[in-house]
């Protein structure tokens, strides 16, 4: 156990030394990795912020049920009773007076509404159904529309569904990009390590001759790959921080124009830890693949 730890320490020290003596190569590899990773992680952050912006709006599509102007009190009671049933999550009654008041307040239409001789708006219910699929919601809306005394039941789902669908596509793109760039990362790491393995061919051959196991020979390179990956992850963090710094003022200005206090949120500590972990893992994996392959070649070339 102590011997094992000593080997790990030794390999880690050797890897750190190797990185230190080649600062330019180390930096360039880290930058290449950082730029590669910053694309999917940047998109992920952008989607997170966009989702947060959309989160202020109702996530569940609403059904607006407009009542007939001549609906009788009995019909109105029947409708209210129907809205108590279990397929309805929530129903809010909006009398036409309230609707008119809200309209004139929200849209600054006081002048116009004041000129109206009578209220043109119908009484309405704003209903959230318990239905989870689009078809079920449409069925509930149609069902409500057929009730006597109901003029129209309107499902306000299109824009919400479109936004949801766009976000789903965006998330899939993030995963796709993340997968692609993970492969790029493995390739970058492998390439960097391959050059190092070939440069140390003599040492590897001599070490083999005096009793080094393959694991012993591989170990410093694996640490090297993992450290490169970690540096790449940190570089990606740097790239994103820079992007956020550049974007912050314009985004806040744009949000200000819409009267919003929206601002960009940085990634959470957990998200950063995941990215760093994944880049470290990719670096390690790239190193493992290359070293194993190159060692076999060196052995054959003996």
């Amino acid at each position: 156990m102590i011997g094992w730890l000593r080997h790990q320490k030794h390999a880690l020290a050797a890897a750190l030394h190797r990185l230190r003596v080649q600062p330019v190569a180390t930096l360039l590899t880290a930058l290449a990795m950082g730029v590669a990773i910053s694309l999917p992680s940047g998109l992920y952050l952008a989607l997170g912020n966009l989702g947060r912006l959309a989160g202020d709006l109702p996530a569940q599509p609403e059904i607006s049920v407009f009542l007939d102007a001549e609906a009788s009190a009995a019909h109105k009671q029947a409708i209210a009773a129907r809205l108590q049933q279990p397929d309805i999550a929530q129903a809010r009654y909006v009398p036409k007076e309230d609707a008119l008041a809200a309209l004139s307040a929200a849209q600054d239409l006081t002048d116009i509404t004041a000129g109206l001789t009578q209220n043109p708006l119908p009484d309405a219910w704003v209903v959230h159904s318990r239905a989870s699929s689009r078809e079920e919601r449409a069925r509930v809306a149609a069902d409500l529309g057929r009730l006597p005394g109901v003029a129209e039941a309107h499902l306000d789902s299109q824009w919400a569904e479109r936004l949801q669908a766009a976000l789903v596509i965006g998330r899939s793109v993030v995963w796709l990009l993340a997968g692609l760039f993970a492969i790029a990362l493995i390739a970058i790491s492998g390439n960097a390590i391959r050059a190092l393995v070939l440069a140390r061919r003599d040492e590897i051959q001599v070490s083999r001759l005096i009793g080094a196991t393959d694991r012993h020979i591989r170990r410093p390179f694996l640490y090297l790959g993992a450290l490169q990956g970690l540096l790449g992850g940190l570089a990606a963090g740097g790239v994103l921080a820079l992007a956020a710094w550049v974007l912050r003022a314009p985004v806040e200005q744009l949000a200000g124009l819409y009267g919003s206090t929206f601002h960009l949120l940085p990634p959470t500590a957990a998200e950063m830890a995941i990215v760093l972990g994944l880049t470290t893992l990719s670096g390690w994996l790239g190193a493992w693949l290359t070293v194993t392959r190159t060692l076999r070649q060196v052995m054959l070339a003996r």
Binding site: W4, I210, H216
Partner: protein, 220 residues
Amino acid sequence: MISFSQVTKRYPGGHEALSGVDLAIEQGELVFLAGHSGAGKSTLLKLIAAIERPTSGVVSVSGQNINRLSQRAVPYLRRNIGLVFQDHKLLFDRNVIDNVMLPLDIAGFDRRESLKRARAVIDKVGLLNREKANPISLSGGEQQRLCIARALVSRPALLLADEPTGNLDAGYAADIMAMFRDFHQVGTTLVIATHDDRAITALGGRTLRLDHGKVERASA
């Protein structure tokens, strides 16, 4: 300690480096492998260190059958064998003492213990004042002594040397051979391939003469 039974080694391409070799080397023996170049001396040493595997026949070292040794077990066999190469195989990216410490690092020794052992063996080969030097600045004889120090630092029971004095002038060669005699006297088994007959007569010991891959005669 080492036994060959009907050992043949044929390289790809058909060249037969050893044919039907039988031999036995006891623990603590000093054995010279003599013969012209290409007679199979290096191949014989490589078979003992499991650098090559025999085409047929059985090679056994310290009771282990080299033919059946798994690739994973080879490193552990080699840790008990000191290898001295004609071309030294030193690493020029590190100084003298780090070269000597390499086998100990591989075996997982504590660094302080390694340093102590490495200094002792460097002192024995007379390079203590060059401890921090890069091996590239050493003379041929010094490089060979450094190679010997590296082979001995892990105190192997068996030392294999392939033309250890091949590139050296007579004075250096005598030094090196005297060093080998000392190791022999403390019980190390030595197998030395050389075509330097002066060294053989100076040191005594048994001589196995190889000729075209066959053991020609054994003489005491």
